[in-house]
């Protein structure tokens, strides 16, 4: 024993790891389920998120009820008709408009009553805006837009000097949207997509492949060889880590080339934090499967513990600032949350160190703790 120098020992170790990685790689390519999770699902998600899903409000159907045409009323109606955000249907009566809304043909009604022009002249006009409240988000948008449109009409009138000079001025909001001037929801859906894919490959897939070895009894034969536990773990981490990086490149490529989402930070930094998150995600998968040892249960748990939180509790779709304290506290335990923060900044803002350093540090701690736990849970023992 003492005669063996560290050189050959290390060489033997390396060749064992390489052999296991080669085996894992072959399995990914041959097993249809690995292929489905590692390749088909990411592609599907990229397409869905890039093309199908959009939170942008455009061409919202609204009915404008013009009970009696007048220049004042038509001016307001034209404001809606010319806006790219709306698709306007003019109706004569409120009843007609309500019927349209009940049939889900329109999402909102702008009601200009018959006496609109007369009362506007008296300075006491009222526009009724009714929205279909089931889609609260959209309802709010229509209300806000109507408000802005009417305020603008006021501004215009003031500028044209048509209105009473004693009417006085008012405060007007001029807004700028930094990082996403065009207000394109893809700008934040695509970074979120990267998180989902990294989670899917890292945790979901890894949890299944390791549990499979327990279930099929292949670990039993593998254990009774000179292979060490750390070598088995390294050989499980590396392939899925690489696959995850492949997925990352795919996402970055499609973000740039297909979806025109900018990457304003440095690519190197982006890859670096992604590697950190992949490490976290892969070790979660390993930990889950090492403690459950069954494919079905592992994948279900991986779905509930990693994928769903990455979708719902990471701040990717729903901002965590609005949630109650208890849920927010839970969200601090979701690694995806920190990764989402990092990605949104690196994609859209640039190398903002005040975001990168704290979030990357938390991810590093997660990675270290989870890897250590995985190492402790995985044993070359069947007991």
């Amino acid at each position: 024993m003492a005669a063996t120098s560290p050189g050959p020992r290390l060489a033997a170790k390396t060749s064992r790891i390489v052999a296991l990685i080669r085996k894992e790689g072959r399995q990914v390519l041959r097993d249809p389920s690995s292929f489905a999770i590692g390749v088909v699902l990411p592609l599907m998600l990229i397409l869905l998120f890039g093309y199908a899903m959009s939170l942008d409000v455009k061409h919202v159907p609204v009915a404008v009820v013009l009970e009696q045409p007048s220049s004042e009323a038509s001016e307001v109606a034209a404001g809606f008709q010319l806006s790219p955000y709306f698709e306007t249907r003019l109706t004569r009566s409120m009843a007609e408009a309500e019927e349209l809304m009940l049939a889900q043909k329109v999402d909102g009604i702008v009601h200009l009553p018959a006496d609109f022009a007369r009362r506007a002249a008296q300075g006491d006009a009222n526009i009724e805006v009714v929205v279909y409240g089931v889609d609260a988000n959209r309802g709010r948008f229509i209300q806000a837009y109507a408000q802005a449109a009417i305020a603008q009409a006021g501004v215009r009138r003031a500028a044209e000097g048509r209105s009473d000079p004693t009417a006085g001025g008012q405060a007007v909001v001029e807004s700028q949207l930094w990082f996403n001037a065009a207000n394109d929801s893809r700008y934040f859906l695509v970074p979120g997509l990267v998180v989902l894919i990294m989670t899917l490959i890292g945790a979901f897939m890894t949890s299944m492949v390791v549990a499979r070895e327990w279930e099929r009894g292949t670990f039993e034969a593998l254990f009774v060889t000179p292979v060490r536990t750390d070598e088995i773990l390294i050989a499980k981490i590396v392939p899925y880590f690489l696959l995850g990086l492949g997925g990352l490149l795919l996402c970055l490529g499609s973000a740039r080339l297909l979806f025109d989402v900018p990457i304003r930070g440095s690519i190197l930094l982006l890859v670096a934090v992604s590697m950190l998150y992949l490490l976290v995600s892969v070790s979660m998968g390993l930990l889950i499967s090492a403690s459950l040892k069954g494919q079905f249960l592992s994948s279900q748990v991986a779905l509930v513990v990693t994928f769903m939180p990455a979708l719902m509790l990471s701040g990717f779709i729903y901002d965590l600032r609005g949630v109650p304290l208890a849920v927010r506290l839970i969200s601090y335990l979701v690694p995806a949350r920190y990764y989402v923060s990092l990605l949104q900044s690196l994609f859209l803002a640039g190398d903002v160190w005040s975001v990168i350093i704290p979030n990357a540090a938390v991810l590093a701690v997660f990675a270290a703790v989870l890897l250590a736990l995985t190492r402790l849970t995985t044993r070359k023992s069947l007991g």
């Binding site: 959009s54 009714v130 008012q170 949207l177 996403n180 700008y187």
Partner: protein, 372 residues
């Protein structure tokens, strides 16, 4: 006929026993949906409160203070900094400490008093454009309210045109009212489809399917015996979810339960039909689970749950026509929030009926012809 019913009853009993006996599966099916509903019901909200913002008041006048007081007075905003130079503005937004910065020009009060319009510049963090959009909307509302007060206090006539907003079915436009009922459909579909997809695949993998085929069951009886327990569990889940929506989230139920359950049964038939079809083409549980996962994912994402269907490209909108969840979410909304009756729900009902018929028939055909 009677013997056939008895056999189906035996299958249903067995199926329910097998599913509910295992504590882990039972928790997965009955407790986990409630937890999901609670967490997501709270998490999935676009109704912002306490949006952190910074004030960059370069006027420091009574008017600017009054405007900021309006923002601070609304529960939507929380001022976390008063800044004095533009660099600080960039720093606060970059580091995500604030979502917006409200900048008031030095001549704000002077212009207002002179009867001119005065600009309020708002810079928002667009990394999450939904949040930014919602926050801007709230700023607009606050500024509007400031205008009304200002004019009243200075003896000016109120703005000539007022807006009286009104929202049907959801007076305060709360996202939760939209999302929680939609989750009732989504969560139910996920587990029902998965259960159905795994049920036959499991029997096939464990060899018990042969035992069923050798017994005097015919494929139709097996299908019915598999579909009903999955639907029963699905209905239990929806009921639990509905209870959470009403008793915990206090979202008022406007419609009739009979109508809602009639719609849900049709929806579950469609979900089970898809699940059984998936099951009939998968040889192992692993395959069944994967196929089900690959089916559920686009169905959930393209159902209108997270993003509205009308914002999707035309091609994708056409694809959503075969998605039963799309109809179910609409149906639950319409019954739960709007209180519509079956006569007005026809556009949601017939597509689900067609999906159910097609998938169940296909699954039955596959069972009969893919026994080998």
């Amino acid at each position: 006929m009677l013997s056939s019913l008895l056999r189906i009853a035996a299958l249903i009993r067995k199926e329910l026993l097998a599913i509910l006996k295992d504590a882990r599966t039972r928790n997965m099916l009955l407790i986990q949906p409630v937890i999901q509903l609670l967490i997501f019901g709270y998490a999935a909200t676009l109704d912002l409160s306490n949006i952190p913002y910074a004030a960059f008041d370069r006027d420091r006048s009574a008017a600017s203070s009054a405007l900021l007081a309006k923002l601070d007075g609304s529960s939507a905003f929380q001022r976390i900094a008063n800044i004095t130079d533009p660099d600080e503005m960039r720093r606060l937004i970059d580091s995500r400490r604030v979502v917006l910065v409200v900048q008031i020009a030095p001549d704000f009060q002077r212009r207002l008093s002179a009867g001119q319009n005065a600009a309020v510049q708002v810079v928002a963090d667009g990394r999450n454009s939904t949040t930014a959009g919602a926050a801007l909307g709230s700023v607009n509302a606050a500024v509007e309210s400031f205008n009304v007060d200002w004019r009243r206090d200075h003896g000016l006539a109120p703005p000539p045109v007022r807006l009286s907003p009104r929202a049907w079915y959801n007076p305060n436009l709360e996202t939760r009212w939209n999302l929680v009922p939609a989750l009732v459909g989504t969560i139910t579909m996920m587990s029902t489809l998965m259960l159905a997809a795994l049920s036959v695949a499991r029997e096939r993998e464990e060899g018990t399917f042969d035992q069923l085929l050798v017994a005097p069951f015919n494929p139709a009886e097996i299908m019915v015996g598999k579909a009903i327990p999955a639907m029963m569990i699905g209905l239990t889940q929806s009921t639990t979810a509905l209870l959470v929506a009403q008793l915990w989230f206090r979202i008022p139920f406007a419609g009739s339960y009979l109508t809602l359950y009639a719609g849900l049964v049709l929806f579950l038939l469609a979900a089970v039909g898809i699940g059984l079809f998936v099951s009939s083409i998968s040889a192992t549980m692993q395959q069944g689970m994967l196929y089900a996962f690959v089916t559920i994912m686009p169905f959930a994402l393209l159902s209108g749950l997270t993003t509205p269907i009308s914002s999707m490209p035309r091609v994708i909108q056409a694809f959503t026509l075969i998605n039963p969840l799309r109809y179910a979410i609409d149906l639950v909304h319409r019954v739960y929030l709007e209180g519509l009756g079956l006569d007005r729900l026809w556009p949601d009902l017939w597509p689900m009926a067609i999906i159910a018929t097609v998938t169940l028939t296909a699954a039955a055909w596959m069972f009969r012809n893919r026994i080998e």
